[in-house]
């Protein structure tokens, strides 16, 4: 699951990490909208390059590359399905045209742009910043708490799953042997202790929450607060401008396909 490695937050500090998550999210959404607006290659290629300076400024090139590499598999599937089905539906038995090739490539590139922008977002936003952004965006506190607590326990549950697997392996359970059905059944001795443990854990957490005055006030206060800074305003306005420009082009400017640009058609 190396594609997911490209989404894990790394504890580094950079100008990009310090940007307000809400503004970053807005930026990513704008990229998303722009990617959907266009289905010709040139604008999509341009879009692909836009997040790159952010990647380098944040110093997350290696992880980003990993997410791109992971996305390659799904991208190949998208390309093949799109190309093959559209071909057989429209152009068969003629020879496939350049525009079909371009259309399928554009679909695939769109997928890459999506993965790329969200990857940059998650790589440069710490989960607690994210939780804080949710809180300040007036998402009910219960959901924000559930989110940050879940993230907090991911490594704990991962360790516990490993321990449970070790404990059952030490009783002769063989996870790699047997046909598909047997292998699925062999995971029951792993899943049940994991689930039971999760339930017990939530009970203990609930006790601890209550004991720390959970529910005491209608409106909670917060140790931290997100404040918008110059860089945030800059990015926000930049995103708005990009969006306006993109909509204008989409409405009034005929976008050339790559084939046209390169002199084919």
């Amino acid at each position: 699951m190396s594609m997911f490695e490209g989404f894990k937050f790394r504890r580094v500090s950079s100008a990009i990490h310090r940007l307000d998550p809400r503004v970053k999210f807005f930026f990513v959404c704008v990229l998303f909208v722009m990617a959907i607006l266009f289905n010709k290659l040139p604008p999509l290629i341009l879009l692909f390059f836009i997040p790159l300076p952010f990647v380098f400024m944040a110093g997350v090139q290696r992880e980003w590359l990993r997410s791109m590499r992971g996305a390659l598999f799904f991208a190949a599937i998208i390309f093949l399905f799109n190309f093959v089905f559209t071909y057989f539906y429209t152009q068969y038995p003629r020879f496939p045209s350049a525009s079909l090739l371009e259309r399928s490539s554009a679909m695939t590139l769109r997928f890459f742009v999506l993965v790329e922008s969200f990857s940059v977002f998650f790589l440069t936003t710490s989960p607690d910043h994210l939780g804080l952004a949710l809180e300040q965006s007036h998402v009910p506190y219960e959901f924000c708490f559930a989110f940050t607590t879940a993230v907090r326990f991911v490594p704990v549950l991962a360790d516990e799953a490993q321990t449970i697997m070790d404990a059952q392996k030490a009783r002769g359970l063989e996870l790699e042997r047997g046909n598909f059905l047997k292998r699925v059944r062999n995971y029951i001795p792993i899943l049940i202790p994991l689930i039971v443990s999760a339930i017990r854990r939530s009970l203990e957490l609930a006790e601890a929450m209550e004991s720390r005055a959970w529910g005491a006030s209608e409106k909670r206060t917060n140790l931290y607060v997100l404040k918008l800074k110059k860089a945030d305003y800059f990015l926000a306005s930049g995103s708005v401008l990009m969006l306006i420009f993109a909509v204008y082009v989409w409405l009034f400017v005929p976008v050339p396909s790559l084939a046209t640009l390169l002199g084919f058609s």
Binding site: E160, T163, R171, G172
Partner: protein, 274 residues
């Protein structure tokens, strides 16, 4: 017999947990591996049943190199009782739980029945045979977990921190149980940082610190040596501390047992009354 030769182990995260361990454990020994949390004790014992394979060096169990066999094969000889019984329990009844490993190892049905009976009996949980393990108390679940490991009669039994959360009586019962296992010629390896418990058992002690073995010897020599104890970040038993405080009076300092302490003090007083 377990032989460890120049064992090095580094976790995938890059943490070097074991740095050159060499140790031999004979059949029928009772060994306590001690040291503070993070010294590498559990990492070491996980090599005995193949859960971890050496990064460098080798571990040989009964003539078989652990790198060449699966965990299931090694587990047949080396039983491992984990610290938290809830990481194992998943069956609908205690009986099935204890039979689980036996089925994995391919025992026959009547052999399974006999062994389950035997294990439930010696751990005093026969009355819970048809009960769901999740309904039992903490101490009872620990006994069920222990029964499920002993059921297949492994030659070596490893107990990882068995005294955590146990009260005094439970620890005493555990101690007696280990003595019983030892009497049946089983090799018992206990990973623990409970000094008082080890002082009562007086086994061979291997003291670890920072991924290395600091010293390997008898409990009464090691736990009474202030330098070694400080090096491994554990504390001496209270009785030892008392005698260390009286060493200037010419009393011996390698005392860990309270009855031994009485004998020594009585002898001292008799000798000095005249």
């Amino acid at each position: 017999m377990i032989e460890v030769k120049d064992l090095h182990f580094t976790y995938p995260t890059g943490v070097e947990a074991l740095r050159g361990i060499a140790i031999t454990i004979d059949d029928g020994e009772f060994l306590a591996i001690m040291g503070q949390n993070g010294a590498g004790k559990t990492t070491l014992v996980k090599h005995f049943n193949g859960l971890l394979k050496p990064t460098k060096g080798e571990v040989v169990v009964d003539g078989v190199n652990t790198r060449k066999v699966s965990v299931a094969q090694l587990a047949r000889k080396v039983g491992f009782v984990f610290q938290n019984p809830d990481h194992q329990l998943f069956c609908e009844t205690v009986e099935e739980e204890v039979a689980f490993a036996l089925r994995n190892f391919g025992f026959e049905e009547n052999a399974i029945k006999k062994r389950v009976d035997w294990a439930l009996n010696i751990l005093d949980v026969m009355q819970y045979r048809q009960t769901s393990p999740f309904m039992l108390s903490g101490g009872e679940r620990k006994r069920v977990a222990l029964a499920s490991v002993l059921a297949w009669d492994p030659q070596v039994v490893i107990l990882d921190e068995p005294t955590i959360g146990q009260d005094h009586q439970q620890k005493e019962k555990l101690r007696q149980f280990i003595v019983q296992l030892n009497a049946q010629k089983k090799t018992v390896v206990v990973v623990t940082h409970d000094v008082e418990f080890v002082a009562e058992c007086n086994p061979r002690v291997v003291l670890m610190s920072g991924g290395k073995i600091v010293v390997d010897g008898r409990a009464e020599e090691i736990l009474t040596n202030p330098k070694l104890v400080a090096q491994a970040s554990i504390v001496s038993p209270q009785i030892t501390q008392i005698f260390l405080g009286l060493s200037d009076l010419g009393l011996p300092t390698n005392v860990i047992d309270v009855h031994e302490a009485r004998r020594i003090l009585l002898d001292f007083l008799e000798a000095h009354v005249s």
